[in-house]
């Protein structure tokens, strides 16, 4: 829809100068206009509606699959004894992992004063929320009697029965629900100034009311900004350890079990690295088309993409290292069961899944060593999609190959997913995309206020905080130029 602007290359590291993060001669008003116009225009291009229809259809499929599951029982999936978990927990870990990039970008990069994060953090945080929603579905539906799921919560009851606090699944419940709550608060808090902008620019009553309620009375006063900055910082500090803890706890589901192939002390860091790896890959996968589609190349610049590719490469190397360590430890431990699990992964009946994983997660990201690949949008997307596929298979490999051949050869089995499981996986993508498309349509997908703080016009480059994207108080000149006809 947009004409491709000729933009300067901001990926070059010039000594003594910071690379610009917003290109194309934008000022505050034009940034506001660009972002808000996506929400405000009466109709989006047809492609959005096509994508939305497909997503809704897939969501309906998810509802149908889950409904069928609830009516008939877990048997409609391909699970068996010994493979008690298959697509269900694979999808859970996959989606939780996807969520990690958002929190990492918004919280950890915030604390590390990485100001390029401002262009992508809102988008990534939204992805986090939606991914965790998708993730949360699977533990809830994977139980044999989902109508008793609430027993996993420690609530006082007449039977004085408490959950088993030694079980990692219970820790999961706490970890994921905490993560979701904090992420949601963080996301929403960060959105307040932008929601207020949308409210202020609203031309219809409905928008005024909805955005008015959502912006919680934000007026942009100095006191508001002050409180806001404090809360944001605190939430960032709260969310930062969660990035590490959630996936560590998820990995405990496996690491705490005695099953060879699961029982491994490297799992927590390995899972966290894998989560960030997959999360960044997902951000790239989504961001590149969205950026092109809505013409946001000036705000989400090639430099942003390149930075993400670099993180993906770094975490990918960590993941590859973890794979290596697993094999090393199996050999070094002298435990024949452990050695068998690893040999069986690489050469057993699920070798195909293992090699998909290796190709996608170890080989594919090596392309990011090349700047050309890092800065070319379509190669970025290609590699990222491969990584997403690989990371899904990683979880599948860990779960299924360890389970299907346990300690007693008499109980070895094989797991094949059924169409219900495939439909549920597709449906979870549908739900994710539906929520995402709605967000693109109705929410400020770029943190306008934060982006403005890293623009030269903010004057923070030479301020007391030396341009780390911090803006204590109202940003000068913010309202110097207003769009014609717009209300203050």
């Amino acid at each position: 829809m947009s004409t491709v602007p000729i933009l300067p290359d901001n990926t070059i590291e010039a000594p003594g100068a910071r690379a610009p993060l917003v290109l194309g001669g934008n000022d505050f008003a034009s940034v506001t206009d660009k972002v808000c116009s996506i929400v405000e225009r009466p109709r989006l291009p047809r492609a959005w509606y096509v994508a939305f229809t497909i997503s809704c259809a897939l969501t309906a499929l998810l509802v149908a699959m889950v409904g069928y599951l609830f009516l008939a029982g877990i048997g409609v999936w391909g699970l068996n004894i010994p493979v008690g978990w298959g697509f269900d927990i694979t999808n859970f870990v996959f989606w939780v992992g996807i969520g990690h990039a958002g929190t990492l970008i918004s919280a950890i990069l915030f604390l590390f004063r990485q100001k390029w994060r401002t262009g992508i953090n809102r988008f990534a945080e939204a992805m986090t929320i939606f991914a965790v929603i998708c993730a949360g579905i699977f533990p809830a539906i994977h139980t044999g009697r989902p109508w008793f799921d609430y027993w996993l919560f420690p609530y006082p009851n007449q039977m004085s029965v408490w959950p088993n606090f030694r079980s990692p699944l219970l820790w999961d419940v706490f970890a994921v629900s905490t993560y979701f709550t904090v992420s949601l608060m963080f996301w929403f808090t960060g959105m307040l100034p932008d929601l207020a902008t949308l409210r202020d620019r609203a031309t219809t009553r409905g928008r005024r009311i909805v955005y008015g309620i959502l912006s919680l009375g934000w007026r942009g006063s100095g006191r508001h900004w002050h409180r806001y900055e404090r809360v944001y910082l605190l939430l960032a500090a709260l969310a930062a350890p969660l990035v590490l803890s959630v996936h560590s706890v998820v990995s405990f589901d496996f690491a705490v079990a005695q099953l060879p192939g699961w029982h491994s002390t490297i799992f927590p860091p390995y899972f966290v690295a894998g989560a960030i790896f997959s999360g960044f890959a997902m951000v790239i996968t989504l961001l590149v088309p969205v950026r092109a589609f809505f013409g946001l190349e000036e705000i989400i610049t090639t430099r942003h993409l390149e930075n993400m590719a670099k993180i993906t490469l770094a975490t990918g190397l960590m993941v590859a290292y973890s794979y290596g360590v697993e094999f090393f430890m199996a050999w070094y431990s002298g435990n024949p069961l452990e050695q068998f699990v690893l040999a069986n992964r690489a050469m057993g009946p699920y070798a195909w899944a293992f090699w998909i994983m290796m190709c996608c997660n170890v080989a594919a990201p090596q392309a990011f060593w090349f700047k050309k690949v890092r800065t070319t949008p379509w190669t970025l997307v290609g590699v990222s999609v491969l990584i997403n596929v690989g990371m899904w298979f990683e979880r599948f490999v860990i779960i299924v190959t360890s389970l299907h051949r346990g300690a007693l050869p008499s109980s070895w089995g094989y797991y094949r997913p059924t169409w219900v499981e495939l439909g549920t996986l597709a449906g979870s993508f549908g739900l994710f995309m539906t929520l995402f498309l709605l967000f693109l349509r109705y929410g400020p997908m770029i943190a306008m206020a934060e982006v403005k703080s890293v623009m030269p016009a903010a004057g923070l480059e030479h301020g007391p905080h030396h341009g780390h994207g911090q803006y204590w108080g109202e940003i000068p000149h913010q309202h110097d130029r207003r769009r014609e006809g717009a209300r203050p």
Partner: protein, 989 residues
Amino acid sequence: MGKEYWRSLDELADTPEFRSLVEKEFPGLAEELLSPQTRRAFLKVMGASLGVAGLAACRWPKETILPFARGPEGRIPGAPQQFATAMDLGGAAIGLLVTSFDGRPVKVEGNPLHPISRGAATAFAQASILELYDPDRSKQVLRREGGQVFASSWDEFAAFAGPHFAELRARKGAGLAVLSEGSSSPSLTRLRTRFAEVFPQARWFEWEPVERDNEREAEREIFGAPCHPQLRFDKADVVVCLDADPLFDHPAAVAHARDFASRRRAEGGTMNRLWCAESVLSLTGAAADHRAALTPHGVEEAARLLASAVLGVEAGAPQDAAAGRFAAAAARDLHAARGRCLVLAGPRQPVRIHLLAHALNAALGAEGTTVSYVEDIDPSRGPHLGGILQFSVAADRGEIRTLVVLGGNPAYTAPGAEGVSAAIAKIPVSVRLGLFDDETSRVCGWHLPRAHSLESWGDALAWDGTWSVQQPLIDAMYDGRTPAELIAVFVGEAASAHEIARETLKAAAPAGGFEAFWRRTLHDGVAAGVAALPAATPPAGGRLRALAEAALAEWEQPSAPASGITAVFVPDARVHDGRFANNAWLQEMPDPLTKITWDNAALLSPKTADSLGVRHGDVVRVKRGERALEIVAYVMPGQADDTVVLPLGYGRTAAGKVGTGVGFNAYALRTPDALYFAGGVTVEKTGRTHGLACTQDHQAIDKVGYEARGQRIADLVREGTLAELVADPEFVRKKDERPVLPVFESPKLIGEHQWAMSIDLSACIGCNACTIACQAENNIAVVGKEQVLRGREMHWIRVDRYFSGKPETPKVAFQPMACQHCENAPCEQVCPVAATIHSDEGLNEQVYNRCVGTRYCSNNCPYKVRRFNFFNYVKNVPETEKMAFNPEVTVRGRGVMEKCSFCVQRIEAVKIAAKNDRRPIKDGDVVPACAQTCPTQAIVFGDLKDAASRVSKLREDRRSYPVLGELNTKPRTTYLAKLRNPSSKVEEG
């Protein structure tokens, strides 16, 4: 059945009167009601069984039980009672003890007072409870005419039979024939004599598809009359089996297994030694110390060489090198164990091999010590094969005008069954008494429902002649009659089955008050002091030796098989000859060796399969002349090359909803000239495959898995030889010298008792009796083939079967595997809702009500003994079969994990009883179902707090070890290492 469908109470009750009313009013409906093909009929029958179920629960034997308005003395509602009875299988019975709750039999066990069962029962006997409640059992008299089925009644039948048989009586039974199954019933024998008097010109044929006629013919030659050899495995140091399976496929197998196992525990540093030469891998062969997999020809050769060596006759060069080696080594061993040895030939073997076996026993001094003889139940009966052939001929010629088929299923099981079916169909009046409206009933004019052995009076003799009275546990559910009752009617002396059985016993009872004797017999399950089968005396050794030498001298070298492959027909370990095909427990019970459920398969040795290019699951066409059978193939290690083993009993066309169409009908290739061995068959691939629902080795294994499995078995199933044990008594435990790092604190085990189990792998023969006992005791669901294919079978105790060594000569080990009740249970730690917890008595308890079904416990169980209800498997259990549920055990619904509970309901029952009686619990008071029924007593259960208990001592035994002990799960079930006793003089090949 909703209210709106009721028209009268009679409809609900589905009484015969009501049925006849329906038939009169709506003849069309009646037909639909009876044809199992239509959906409407299905619904109707289901509805009917629903109605019947409600009423059957309150039925009682009319003669003895009074209404509860005046409660019987001493009866406690809800408390289980046990009654002794017996079950006949093909002409020999075992004694049973049936547990009944409020008049509802729920569990069959062996009768401890019975000399054959001694408390143990076969899987068949235990599963008979499900057969009793089978909704597919025939429920009413049927009449077939001109391809149509009409519902009828006993009254109508009586109206027809009365004058018809009166006329036959007048004609002295000319044109009348009876075709019966094998039976040991003294009453039936008595009535048969009466029948012969009333109908002197009538003919009585007997047919059993799996029989021991060759053995009988050899005995007839030697003893003058067939007899029952009584084998004493407890006294035999060396046993040589020539294609025999005395531990599993024998009327006294349960006793043999017990005696055999008693000599496998290396008590006093000695063990027996078992030699087997066979084509098929049998359970006896699996237990053997030395086994030669020989072609049928090779087995004969081994017998000839063995006999020659023992009797000192010049044999000439062996035709089969392996047979020669086997015979030479076995002969040496037999010589060394003179007087304490036993030679057995299997029922498939020809007469001359049996002759040799008898001669060897005589020459080796086995007679009187390890083998003795009692007379046969019916010495005059000729071979079954002759019977069925004569019948066919007579029927074809039109000599039979009236036929009575008592039980059996000749239209399916007879060699050349299609000819027999046609012959029966030609007979003008044919009456069939059967449990099911099956293949034979379909060709008979009248079908009469037969009373199940658990719901009728009767009597039966065990292999050793022990007389048991069958007593009904419940009033006949479907108005059936027994064969004895029917014959009594035909001879014009109508009497109830109760009177008949009483009358027969009265004649044989010792002098004195009969009533007391009768009651004693009913209570004990055995008629004490009644020698039903007197001892038979073997002829002098000289005559036997002469016979054997003559046989050896005249030995015709069997001509080499025409082309390669010989088919061997064997009874199936699950459905026997097909009679249990509609029994879901047995269908889902894995075959002991192949672990196949819900199918039979053509078994091929690995080498033969390779040469034919056949793999697991390929459908092959087995051709024998004009006849051909398409059947799925299974590659069976340890089977003789160039043989194809075809288990009988599958491919039924009218078995019922469970058994119809399951498997492949191997009878199709069985002809009178080849009852057990058919040479010159060809096996070719069809290119199609068939999914085999195996509970172990679900799929063809890859190299990594194959190697790992091979390495692991030695640690899981520890085994050694007697010599190793003597040289180093601690050899089993040395493997456990590993550092153990405690991670979690063990739960506080402060209970008064600490329950534990010990399983002796040396004793276990893999017979599956424990699996079925557990299924019956714990209401374990049947899931069906499709679910087993997905790996969702529900058995709480499975018998793992491992092969080791070369595929041609594998060593077999069985390992019963149920929940190990780990003290450090991995499952307990991971359950998020604490649905699996430890009791203070050391039980790992599964709380079904609390389980949400995350399956995490199963994932974390190293033994993979937990079972998950992936669907609501009990939803479609027919109402009648629900009566077989044990009321002491929860029936699990969908989404819940379950597993072995060490029969906690039995533990609690004993604890309550002991508390009421203010006595301590003795060792042996608490017996889980698996341990109770184990024929070899491999499973021992007890209290570790009692240092003198058997289980405490067995845990300290030098053979005792925990499986996967290195995981530090501290299992409460420990295993005793398997011992083998190979001869030091034989090099393992």
